[in-house]
Amino acid sequence: MKIITKDIKFLLFKARKIGINNKTDLFITFILLVGVFATLTNFLNWIFFHANWEVVSRNLNLYIIGTYPKALSWRPFLWISIIILLSFTTLLKKLNYIKKRFIYICWLLIIPLGIYLLAGGINIIPISTNFWGGLSLTLILTFISIIIALPIGILLALGRQSNLLIIKKITSLYIDCMRSVPLIAILFFGQLLTPLLLPVGMEINRVIRAIFSFSIFVSAYISEDIRGGLQSVPQNQIEAAKVLGLNKYQINKFIVLPQALIIAIPALTNQAIGLLQNTSLMAILGLVELLGISRSILANPQFIGSHLEVYVWLALIYWLVCTIIALLAKKIERHFSKSLNFQGDL
């Protein structure tokens, strides 16, 4: 009997250690644990015994490269492999200065490399964007849109902070309008209405239109994040730069913007992840990116009704890609913010 009370006391001690202090706590924890356990066992049971993973295994290529010509599939695969390799070296290695430089340059080259490998051109067969699809399309949509939206966002943020009244009004109007409209409406506009805005005979292909739509949409959000960064650069930094004789342009370029961008990294990361997730909206508007190609696969009579398998598989891919982006951004942020800590100054 004594031993049992001792055991219970020990257990209670253990429980307290992980933060369970009273009966209500214990009760809530118990209920939640049971719920989590039940869901998990059901889910695992389904994954291993009930799900029919044929819809995934037989279409693996399609999820990654879409309708890209099979003979040339090495191109998107090569690109994605390089991205994965680069992500892991960036995440795993503790890097010295030179290697760091090298890796940043590699990251900058990823986009032109991706365009070259997917679109072809010099020395390799050109492939129309119409054949792009799957994860490779999702990634290239995200990367290019972000890289275009970032400078536009910076200009918009500076415009909104400017004391030139007309520029300030126009940029503010643009930002506020963009931010009050749902993304799908902008994408709808890009896919279905921009052709009406163009002169006769001029065509812009739909991937570029999608990139354009994403860029103009995201740039408004990016500009607000950067504006937040600009506002949190202390006034005395600007004063110190003025005293050194720097002009307005130089102050923005060398002092304010770099610091604002570093401050804005976490917010910008969220924008990038949000953008990647939102590329899935193109499935509604006819592009066969990751979700779009999956909906096409589900239309194949062989795979009718395999929704759950496909959705779980997609969730896994999206989750992995987004998590990797988040981790990469954290690494970059840590690197830059080493130098930046205003608390130390004030």
Binding site: K242, V243, L244, F254, L346
Partner: protein, 247 residues
Amino acid sequence: MSQTIIAKSLVKSFSQNKLALNDVSLEVQKGEVLVIMGPSGSGKSTLIRTFNGLERIDKGELNILGLRLNSFSNDEIIKKIRKRVGMVFQQFNLFPHLTVLSNITLAPIQVQNKDKKHAEKSAYELLVQMGIEEHAFKYPKQLSGGEQQRVAIARALALNPEIMLFDEPTSALDPERVNEVLDAIKSLAKKGMTMIIVTHEIEFAKEAADRVLFMDEGRVVEITTPEIFFTNAKNERSRRFLNQLSK
């Protein structure tokens, strides 16, 4: 001796009912070290900040190195003045995202269009002069307060200014770090730099100042040599201030 700074009846107010500067006039000679003292809120910082246009004056006129500055002066004049007048702040205000070396070379490269190598060489010499050459490639955050302030002095000196303004350069430092900065300022004084220093350090003022200016409520109360000021201040207000400081 020639005057490098002539201030005539400066008036400046931030709010309607209180004047930050109230009819301030003074002259500073070339090579002179002027220490400004006074209780907080007396207008010391405001005064020194008008000398390089960080604060615009409402009335009166300034003549800095032959350039006239009044309430109507345009940005061009202010830019010209800033290129010839260096300033060091209480909070150092180093650029946290740049290394020590880049902090110093930024203005010479961008403002004076010096080539990078030349600018870095001069910067290194300044760092040696300040005794912090081993920190050249560190970021400001990695240095102590005293070291940071010496970087800030080097950064101001890199433009070869003819006048240096110090706005309470030691107030934000740990007591044991104060002297390393003051020593650096003293060595500048020995080289004949014209300097205007706002500070509360009595010993330093006694040792380095040519003249001491005492301000209160936006007015110049007294302007005299340190010997007279610290031993035999004429004004009742100055004596009270000194008493409080020495406590």
